[in-house]
Assembly symmetry: C3
Homo-oligomer: 388 residues x 3
């Protein structure tokens, strides 16, 4: 594994300016990185009735049509009324509630303007249409492609584990305050769990490390993930000027195997809990809001599958996703106010992520760099980038 080693505690005179110089593409990505597939809903949330969402600043209506999922810009070109308020008048179409302008769900073409009769001259004009978005249902989730040009296969952006034949996937979707980068940086932040989540009920009976040594980040073998690692320290020690820490809490009698976290573009954080996997997707909404999709999965069939579902609904969804992620992390993400910032050693995990984005995030085809398979998966080049 290649490592990042650089001075973390260098004071910067103007941290905001420094941040801009260091990671200009990341700094500019207030509405996220384009040319990626983003998950936006659990499959069960999308039915016949249109659903309206904002993704990367774009207002989108999603709808299920005879099994297929469809996504269009949520705005009728006639007078700007949201199509998500419309009626499902004919199969394969969506009719604007205002005047019955009826659009083909697959192509976005205006097929008929009902209230102008079957000979309406406004139809057939290729300029009068609604933008469509590539959209697909995979791994029990709805994925939208936000970007220019023809999209890569959705599988390019879906963690492989989720696509297993026997995958059992559960998801909870929330709209939260705070820019998506705060949420993603909070997730990949190496040290925070050891203090912020110290008394969280989900881990209440488990031994909890106080800190870690040797925090590192390194790309995975396939070049898709940025893995973080460190050596946790469980012992109580003396902190000069303060006293002993962590407290020797007698009720912490359970051990758990070390868990590993990995980050991935455009904003995914995955944790391998050994018996199950946790994926958090952070999807930009606008500059001040993001979606979180907390996706849990295991590979199981029959009774094992049923037992895991019980565990999910009793413990994971309540104590882990709601209390730990939504309440504890959510409070931080809502109240974070950086830059300016002053990073410390474990923040190598954050700096590594930023540099990863800076170098690896896809560029627009119009930037002269086509989204090729090589560009998408350039595993070899990644390590150089991170360690440079």
């Amino acid at each position: 594994m290649q490592e990042i080693e650089e001075p973390m505690d260098t004071p910067s005179q103007d941290p905001r300016a420094a941040a801009r110089r260091a990671w200009p593409r990341y700094e500019a990505a207030e509405l996220g990185f384009r040319h990626y597939w983003y998950p936006v809903l659990a499959a069960r949330q999308l039915k016949q009735k249109p659903v309206s969402l904002v993704v990367c600043g774009e207002k989108i209506v999603l709808v299920r049509d005879r099994g297929a999922v469809r996504a269009l810009k949520d705005r009728c070109p006639h007078r700007g009324v949201p199509l998500s308020a419309g009626r499902r008048e004919f199969p394969g179409t969506l009719s604007c509630l205002y005047h019955g302008w009826t659009f083909d769900l697959a192509s976005g073409e205006l097929i008929q303007a009902l209230t102008d009769g079957p000979d309406s001259p406004v139809c057939g004009n290729p300029e009068v249409c609604v933008k469509t978005y590539p959209v697909i249902q995979k791994a029990n989730l709805i994925w939208i492609y936000i970007g220019d040009g023809p999209p890569p296969p959705a599988e390019t952006d879906i963690p492989e584990t989720l696509l297993a034949d026997d995958a059992v996937v559960e998801a909870v979707v929330e709209r939260r305050k705070g820019n998506w980068r705060y949420a993603m940086e909070n997730a990949c932040d190496e040290a925070h769990a050891k203090y912020l989540h110290r008394y969280t009920p989900y881990y209440f009976f488990f031994r909890f490390p106080g800190w870690q040594t040797d925090a590192r980040v390194a790309p995975s073998e396939d070049g898709k993930w940025l893995n973080r690692s460190s050596k946790p320290v469980f012992e109580k020690v003396h902190y000069p000027g303060l006293g002993s820490w962590p407290r020797g809490e007698f009720w912490r009698w359970l051990r758990r195997k070390p868990i590993k976290g990995s980050s991935r573009l455009p904003g995914v954080f995955a944790v391998d809990h050994h018996t199950w996997h946790d994926f958090q997707f952070f999807v930009p909404v606008d500059k001040e809001h993001h979606l979180t999709l907390q996706v849990s999965m295991t590979r199981a069939k029959g009774l094992k599958k049923a037992l895991w579902k019980i565990r999910y609904w009793l413990f994971i969804r309540t104590l882990h996703h709601w209390l730990l992620n939504s309440r504890e992390d959510g409070f931080i993400v809502e109240n974070m106010d950086a830059p300016p910032e002053w990073l410390f050693r474990p923040d190598i995990s954050i700096v590594g992520w930023r540099r990863w984005c800076e170098q690896k995030a896809r560029r627009s085809p119009s930037d002269g760099e086509p989204i090729s398979q090589a560009n998408l998966h350039s595993g070899g080049a990644v390590a150089d980038v991170v360690s440079s």
Copy 2:
């Protein structure tokens, strides 16, 4: 009837810029057209107690004084406290709650500043006064004149029908989101009712046309109204690419006589329902809000009057004004987002209204065009303007 015939489906490269070029006065009228009488309250809503309103961006306090209605700018010149919070200390006056500055309701003069004694030097200074507004009660409504110079007679701006001796007038006033022009354009929009209101309870059992042909607008004989007309099509027909529409809904067994709609400056839409008349007044509040006054009237006395009142409170006020206008139209007006826009054939009704405003809306006396009776009622000139 002179007609407007022009290409409606011409794509414009920058619709916003095109709109500005085409109708600069209408585009600028975010706060409405000045030099008109606007209705703002039902007569029964105004009593002894001051009522505060914003009309065309101006904060106004209304009050009833021994039968007469009075309107002043809702701001004490002393320290800027709203006069609408004041006390009715002496007849014919309003006293600011803060220091008892007491203003003549008719002239706006500061008669006394109570807390400075009867010899206060601040009184008698003609600069220390409150602006008054011409205001009148007619047709069971309170009307305010917003404009410069001496106002024309209020009857100039009150639909004649409302002034009949045996007029029975009922009104409901609402403050709604959305610029007043969205509300007015929605009202005079020829085609929208055929789709948006298709399943509205008020018309549930009536045959409902799917579209219309020959949409036209033309001025009324007296030059005050812009009448729209069209030939409704009730038959189910084949829409290529979709199928048959409208559905042959078996429960629609009632016929109604065609109803006609007419628009009038500064923002009135009237519908003749044969047994009763419906007037909708759209009164600008600020750039993002307007008042709607939904005024229903019939001509009746005795038992006929009582029966119509029952009909009004049971059906018109609930199903027509609340469900159809406030909920269905209100949703559209709140969510409309134009320009850009792409108009279609029936929108001749909207384009006609815009051009009518552009040419006919009163100009300020200081623009060198006095508001003369000729200017107010120039019936002859109108047709030329609309058809040009």
Copy 3:
């Protein structure tokens, strides 16, 4: 007593501009005057748990530590999370909830970053620390010094009466809408009580003057206060054009001794009620909000103290502070909208206060005028300033 006598009723063509010219420092003090001690909490409101406040635009966390009170900037320099959400992990310190960065409450130094182990290189860097504020508990209130350089003794800014050995002090703190200057000007406004508070329950049975003559302001002997005075007029008289006023309300049979009001920088208004003293402190929060501390005190021991406390909780806190100050004055302060303004004779009390601020408000040490005792208490010079 030196008096201010100047024409008050001079109309100004552009009152806003005139105000700027006349009192530029006062006009600029949207966030209050700096280099003063401000009371911000009642002593009983501050315990072990951190309390977050905004004072003069600065976000501050207060905490009680083994008897002492401490105040720090409410922002961890690491990632900008509010320290007020933190844990009291070790005595004398506050630990940021996010990563356990642990700051010395007295010095603001980063003692340890818990989750980076006892050898974290981020500690010991003098640049990584949190700003502290001078803070003290006196007269049952918590006082913070907002300003540059070493503060003067807190007693400099605490009204002497509050510091008596047998002082019994009660306080209620509120956050209110409106800039602090509106609140302070409303308090020192000579005439307003005679109209605004005319029917307030607290004074309901008392004779109430209708106006006053000879309104004046003059500095106190020690130069710390600006006293206002006037001769109240209780008689009903004839106001030409209106009639007799005040009404001869038969139920007003109680007399009270005249009460005097005094203003003091940075925003204090004191009223001597003979058997008790009322202090109102107006503390800037941001441009649109302020804190009011309504502080009541008497000098008493034993039974007398107990009886006064009953009177306070039954009448003063409910009828005077809540109804009269919070509701009646609060409405005015929220709705005031000046400039423009048009002052009248009794407003000498407001003009005097503005000029007092203009001349007497402390200047920054960096302006070349050190905050010396002479500068603080220059009683001799004050009179000249006010009368000039």
